[in-house]
Symmetry: D2
Subunit: 362 residues, 4 copies
C-alpha cells in the first residue's frame, strides 16, 4: 500500500483517502426473516454510504456490508434491527496504526536515537526518580553498560494513595540534568492532562502508562504535542485495542507512537503479569509501529527479567524498557523488579550476542 | 494519615485510630540464612515502626511483621533484602473502604435518594445523551417504570477516536433540564480532570468509568468535589484494587463512594464482559460501601440484561445502573445492550417481586 | 425447529438431517489475490459439498461458504490456501446441544426427579463420601430441608496425589444405601473410563467434573451408558466449548445431558473461581439443555454460597448442586465451602421465596 | 539439598524423607478470638503432627504451622475452625517436581536422546499421523533439517466429536516404521487409560495433552509405565498446578517427566493461546525438570511460530515441540499452524545461530 501513504507522520491525510480503505461487516439474518427486514438492513447500510451484497441462501440470508470507515459504525447499528441474528465485524477498528495504512516500518526518532530501525534500543534507569544522586549514579551505570535512553518516573501512578507518588516537576528537572550530563535522551511518564505540556517540555519521549491506555482524554492530549509517545499496553487490553488507542494519539498527525508491551493480566500468579511474547510478531504483522518490551513490570521479580529480555530480542522486538537501580535494596518503588548494575551489565553482554545472531546491532 | 483525614464521612478519625488497625507481612527467609540477614530484616521493620516476631524454625526462619499502615509499605521493601525468599502480605492494601475501618453500611445520599439502604435503587436512562427529545422521552419512560435516578452520558470514553464522543457541556445542560422536569437526580460520567468541576456542577452523582478506575489523577480530582462518586470497577481489576481505588476518592474526606460492578474481562466470548456476581457478597463482606450492578455493559446484549439484573438483586446488590433507550434501533451508542421501554417495564415488575422475596423495597 | 427432531434423545438422527442445518464460513482473500487463488478456494469448498457465493469487491474478494456440517470442517481447511487472508466461522461448532437442533427445553428425568421443568431442583450433600454415618446424617439433613437429589463423591479428582482420593466402590455402596434409605436419587462423579460401567450401575446421574470436560475419551464412554450425565463446565472453557463437549456425550443417542456451571478461572482472587452468571441466559438462548449451578466450588467459601445460589435461581437456572456437610469442621475435602445444616435450611427458605417470585416451584 | 535425593527417579524415596521437607501455613485469628478457639487450632495442628508457633499480638493472634507434608493437608482443615479469619499456605503443594527436592537439573533420556542437557532438542513432525506416505515424507524433512525426535499423533483429542479422531493403533505402527527408517525416537499422545499400555509399547516419550493435565486417572496410569512422559501444561492451569500434576506422574517412582509449555488461555484473541514465556524461567527456578515449548499450538498460525520458537530458546527452554507438515494445505488437522519444510529449515538455521549465542548446541 506504500505509495498511497503521504508524509510521515500522516500530515497530508485526507478523509477521502481514509474512505478508500476497504471494510466489511457480515450481517446474518434469522431463519424466516422477512423481505422487509432484509430491506431495512440494506437501507440502513446504504444510508451510511455502504455497498451491500446479498447472499439469499435457501435457509438463511447473509448480507455483506462493503465500503469504508465502518470503524466509525458500531456493529450495533445493524445488530439492533429486527430479524438480525448476528453481526460479524471483519474490518479492524484501527486505521492509522495499521500496516494496511502504511506498509513500511515506522522509525521514530527521539533525541537523536532511532527506535524501530536495525539497532535494538535499550532504555534503562530507575522506576522512579528519587534524588539527584540516585539518578546520576543510575545514568552512569546504564550508559556505561550500553543503554541509549534514560528512563525514570517523575509522576508515578500508584495503586494506593498512601504510597510515594513521585517528585513531580523537581524530578523532571533532575532528568534534564541527567540528560545534559550523559547525553542520553529521556523517557518519562505523564498521568494527568494538566501536566502534558509540562512533561512535553522536558521529555524526549512521553510515556503513557498501562493503566492510562484507555484514558482517551490523555491520549488526545499527548497527541497534540510533537513529542514521540511510548504507549504501554493496558494489562487487560487486546492488541487490537492497543492499536486503536494508538490511533487516538496519531489522529492529530503530530505525534509518533512507540508501542510498549509490558504483560497482560492472566490467572497465572507466579509472575506479576504474563508477558505476551506473541504480541511482538502480531504487532509486526498488523502494524507499522515500533514495539519495545518492558520485562521488569511483567515479571515483577529481577530474577526473571534477563530471560524475558533475551526472549523479547529473539522474538523481534525493537528494544527494551528496563529497570535498573544503583541499589535496589533501597529503592522507594519496585525494587524487587530492578536489576543491579552488575546484573544489567551481564544482561547487556548476553543481548549483544543474541543481537548479532539475529542480525541486529545493539 | 492522621491530620490529613478530615470530617465526613469518618469524622473522628485520627492517626491513633488508624494505627490500631492490625496489619502483618510474613517474611520467609531462605534456608541457611545468616543471623546478619535476619537482623537486617528486623532492623528495617523496626525503622519503619513495626513490631516483629521471629519463628526460628530448625530449617527455616519466618519473620512476622506486626504493626500498622503496611499499606504504605510495599512488600518489596523486605523482598529485596539478602536472604529473603518470599514475602506474603496479609494485610489488605486499602483502609478507608474497608469494613474494619467502618463496620456499619454506608448509605450515600444523592439528590434526595439514598443508595445503600433498604430500597433497591434503579438508575436508568440512555447510554449517551443524544438530543433533548431523546432524553426527555427516556426520562418519562424510566420514571414511569419506577427508576429513581436518571443516567446519561455527556462525555463518552470511546475505544475508537472516529466514533461519537458525546455532546459535552450541552449534554450536561439537557440532563439538568431533564432533572428539573422529572425530579430525578442525575448520574453522569467525567473523563478528564479538566472537566471535573464542570461535571460536578451539574451531576448529583459523578461517575468514573471502568477504563479510568486506575486513572489516579482523576480519582484524586473527583475526591475533591463534594459530590458522591460512582466508581465503576475496572474490567481487569480485582475487588482489592477496586477498593484501593475507592481509597483514592475517599482520601480527602469529602466525597462518598458508590461501587459499580460492570463485569470483568475473561476468556468467555458469548458476552461482552463476565459479570462477577460473586463480587457482590465479597464487597459486602470486606467493605462498608454500597454496590450497584450495571448489567447492560457486562452483557452487551439486551436479551441477557434481565437475567443478570434479577441475579444482582437476589445476590444482595443495592441497585442497578441500566441502559434504557426510547428507540434502541436508533441509538448512537450501545443500542444493542439497551432495553426498550416495554422490556424495562417488564423487568421492573419482575424486580419488584424478587425485592419483596428478599425483604427489600424498590 | 421442533417437529424435525425425532425421538428422545435423538435416536433417529440421520446424516441427512444434520445436513439441513445451515452453516457458513466467510473467507476473505488478500488484496491483489489472483483468479487462480479464488478458484482454489471455490474448488475446495465444492469438493467438500458446500455452495459458494462470491463478493468480488473492487478492492477485496470475500467468499461466503454456504452449506452444512462445517462443524466437521476446520476453518484451517481454507485458511491454509494461498491468497487467503482470514477465515471467519459463522456457524457454531456444536449441533446436538443447540436450540436450532431442538427448540423445546429438554427435561431430563433421573430416578423420578425431573430436571429442566418448572421445579427448581436442589441437589445437595457432602463433597466426598467419608463414612456411612456421615452420609446418612447428610442425607437426613438435606432431605429434611428440601433437597430432592443426593450428591456425594466416591471417586475424587484431587489436584495433589498426596490427598484423600475417595472411597471408590465402597463409597458407591454407601450412596446406594443412602438412596434406599431416603428415596433420593444420587449423583456421583466418574473420573476414569475404566470405572464408567461401575459408576453407571450405582448412579442416577453420572457427573463428569470440570477438569474432565475435555477428556473426550470419558465423554464418549459415559455417552454409551443410558444414564443422564451432569456435565460440569471446564473452568477455562467457553460456553461454546461446553456445548460442543455435550455433543460428545449426546452423539451416541443414548445419554441425556444436564449442564453444570461452576465458575470460570479469571484474575479475580477473592473467590476460588468466578461464577459466570451470564452463562445461564446464554445457555438458555443457544441450547435446549437444562443447566444447574454449583455455587460451592465457585465460591470456595461458605459465606458466599447463599448469595450465589439465590442469584442462580433468579437468573433462570434449573437447579443447584450444593455442598452440605453435617460437620464442615471435620470434612476431609472442601470443608470451607460446605454449608452447615442450619445454613442450608435457611438458604432453602430464602430460595422458596424467590422461586415463588419468579414463578417456579422448589 | 542435593545429596539427600537418592537414585533416579526417586526410587528410594521414603515417607520419612518427605517429612523432612519444611512447610508452613499461617493461620490468622479474628479479632477478639477466645483462648479456646486458639487452642482448637493448636490441637488440630498437633494432632496432624505439626509444630506450632504462636504470635499473640495485642490485637490479633497469628499462628504459624511448622512441619512437613502440609501438601497433604488442605488449608480448609484450619480455615473451618471457629475464630479463624484466614489461612495462608506458604508451602507449595508439590514436592517431587520441586527444586528443593532435587537441586540438580534432571536430564531425561528417551531413545538415546537427552532432554534437559546442553543440547536444545527439537521435536518435530505432523500434528496427526495421516498416512504412511505423509509420515515418511515428514520424517525425512524434519530429520534433514536437524530435528532429533519425531512427533505425530495417533490418538487425537478433538473438541468436536464430528472431526477426525486419529488413526489409533495403525498410526502407532506407522510411527514405529518411521522410527526404524529414520532412527528418530518418537513422541505421541495418549488420551485414555485403556490405551496407556498400547501407547507405551510404541512410544519413546508418552505425551499427556493440555486438556488432560488434570485427568488424574491418566496421570497415575502413565506414571506406572517406565517411559518418559511429556506433560503439556493445561491451558488454564498455573505453573504450581502443572508441577503438582507432575507429582502425580512421579509418585510411583518409575516415570520421568518433561514439561511442555504450550500457551495459556487469556482474553487476547489474536493468537489461539498466549504463550507464557515467563513460565520458562519460573519453572527453571522452582523445578529440576526439563521444559520444552510448543509454539505451534500457542500461536495457531504458522507466521507467528518462528518468533515464538526463537524466544523460547533465548528464554532458556530445553527444546521445542513443533508442527511441520510436508504439505500444510492438505493437513487433516491444524494445517494453519504447521510449518512447511522450507519454513522449518529456515527456522532451524536461525535457532542454530541463537543457540550458539546462548551457549547451547542444537
Amino acid at each position: 500500500m506504500g505509495g498511497r501513504v503521504a508524509t510521515r507522520p500522516y500530515g497530508l491525510l485526507t478523509i477521502d483517502w481514509l474512505c478508500r480503505i476497504i471494510v466489511a461487516m457480515i450481517v446474518e439474518m434469522q431463519k424466516g426473516t422477512t423481505t422487509n427486514e432484509v430491506d431495512a438492513v440494506v437501507q440502513r447500510a446504504k444510508s451510511l454510504g455502504f455497498s451491500v451484497q446479498l447472499n439469499l441462501g435457501t435457509e438463511k440470508v447473509v448480507i455483506a456490508i462493503l465500503g469504508s470507515n465502518t470503524g466509525q459504525v458500531p456493529s450495533d447499528t445493524f445488530a439492533v434491527l429486527p430479524g438480525v441474528e448476528h453481526v460479524t465485524r471483519i474490518m479492524k477498528p484501527y486505521k492509522l496504526a495499521s500496516r494496511e495504512f502504511k506498509s513500511e516500518n515506522t522509525v521514530v526518532s527521539a533525541g537523536g536515537v532511532e527506535i524501530g530501525g536495525n539497532r535494538f534500543v535499550v532504555m534503562a534507569g530507575p522506576c522512579a526518580v528519587e534524588s539527584e544522586e540516585q539518578l546520576m549514579e543510575a545514568v552512569e551505570v546504564v550508559k556505561g553498560a550500553g543503554a541509549v535512553i534514560l528512563r525514570g518516573g517523575a509522576f508515578k501512578p500508584r495503586t494506593s494513595p498512601f504510597t510515594f507518588q513521585g517528585l513531580g516537576k523537581e524530578g523532571l528537572e533532575m532528568l534534564a540534568k541527567a540528560r545534559k550530563h550523559s547525553g542520553l535522551p529521556i523517557v518519562t511518564e505523564v498521568v494527568d492532562t494538566h501536566e502534558v505540556e509540562l512533561v512535553a517540555e522536558y521529555a524526549d519521549i512521553i510515556q503513557v502508562g498501562a493503566r492510562n491506555m484507555q484514558n482517551f482524554a490523555l491520549l488526545k492530549s499527548v497527541g497534540k504535542t510533537s513529542k514521540p509517545v511510548l504507549l504501554k499496553r493496558g494489562f487487560s487490553c487486546t492488541v487490537t485495542e492497543w492499536l486503536t488507542a494508538a490511533d487516538y494519539v496519531l489522529a492529530d498527525g503530530k505525534a509518533q507512537v512507540i508501542l510498549g508491551e509490558r504483560g497482560i493480566r492472566t490467572f497465572e500468579d507466579s509472575t506479576r503479569f504474563s508477558l505476551d511474547i506473541s504480541s511482538i510478531p502480531v504487532v509486526k504483522r498488523f502494524s507499522h509501529l515500533p514495539v519495545i518490551v518492558d520485562p521488569s513490570h511483567a515479571a515483577g521479580h529481577f530474577s526473571l527479567v534477563p530471560a524475558i529480555a533475551r526472549a523479547a530480542l529473539a522474538a523481534g522486538a525493537d528494544g527494551l524498557l528496563i529497570e535498573v537501580h544503583p541499589n535496589p535494596k533501597e529503592a522507594l518503588v519496585d525494587g524487587l523488579q530492578s536489576l543491579t548494575p552488575s546484573d544489567f551489565t551481564r544482561l547487556m553482554k548476553d543481548l549483544r550476542a543474541i543481537a548479532k545472531a539475529v542480525g541486529r546491532t545493539l
